[in-house]
Subunit: 165 residues, 2 copies
DNA sequence: TGACAATACTTCGTATGCGAAATATACTGT
DNA sequence: ACAGTATATTTCGCATACGAAGTATTGTCA
């Protein structure tokens, strides 16, 4: 057995896992500091997806018609399994950020819609996210960051998670 | 607001988090396939640390004196908080891989020692880990992988997690 | 139309990880 | 020796995520 393989600092799995937890912790703190403590890191994928939808609707002139997005689509967008989505949406609903709505077309479907409160937090949350990522990526050559992202995308493909969204 | 920032595939946080979960899932499957289903991905850090210690002891000629490592040191090595370690060691003990032992010098301390069963699994586990990582990193230029690791190490430093071990 | 397959979610059990507070023990200065 | 502090671990509550199995509804085909 080779000693190098036992060195955590050289193991990509260790580095990826630790970085993930570490950035998540920073987000959590950043949201509290920004006064938006009703937002948890795990909500980000869902929020981004809903906000993007709002932006698109506005761009297309679809004012006042916030239909919501079905839970499964939201999960695909956020990279979460349906069974994980249930809990996330439960908590987001509890925290007043979104609401579930029955789909009139298909009674199996639950559409998720952003609430006014959820919409109002957008500015603060996006600022906090940008600032946190900027701090986390400080001192990293942009080109190297792109390479790292490329590597991670390939990992997702290799592990059958590359075809999300 | 800028649409790019809402694209998950371009967000380093999304990529890191997904990659972490995705590789973890692969490890889980790999251990089951290799017939070592008593090993969970979260045990890896602890096992690697204990096995490394064994190797060092052997290299130093310290046969038959497996003292064990105190929980806190093990946590530092694996990158986990003490409060997280309790649960991990609980499960590893339940699964027969390690045992706790009172420290004769300091009654606060719990030393963790690998069991015979835990030691016997080493070969299979290391093979499974190597094979899984190889598959996960397939088709990635080694130089780019190094760059990615460098980036992740910097992220850990930036987020105050760079001084582990 | 009626059986069977497919789809959308939820529920349940489990794993993983953290921080705050509790507990037990050791150390330190007076 | 004692009070006060420091250290080691555990407990507790919570957040996060998954897969297997269950429920409800829809779609399909004979």
């Amino acid at each position: 057995m080779n000693f190098t393989s036992l060195d955590t600092k050289d193991c990509p799995y260790y580095l990826i896992t630790r970085a993930s937890l570490s950035i998540t912790a920073e987000f959590k703190k950043a949201f509290i500091d920004a006064g938006v403590d009703s937002v948890k890191p795990a909500y980000l994928g869902v929020l981004m997806c809903l906000w993007k939808e709002c932006c698109l609707d506005e761009a297309l002139g679809k004012f006042g018609a916030p239909g919501g997005i079905k839970l499964a689509d939201l999960g695909r967008c956020a990279g979460l399994e349906p069974s994980s989505m249930t809990g996330v949406i439960d908590r987001m609903e509890r925290d007043g950020l979104v609401c579930r709505e029955d789909d009139p077309e298909d009674r199996r479907v639950q559409n998720v819609r952003i609430t006014d409160k959820g919409d109002e937090l957008r500015g603060k949350v996006v600022s906090a996210v940008d600032a946190t990522l900027k701090k986390a990526m400080a001192g990293i050559d942009p080109e190297k960051l792109e390479t790292a992202k490329e590597v991670l995308r390939q990992v997702l493909i290799n592990t059958h998670r590359g075809n999300m969204e």
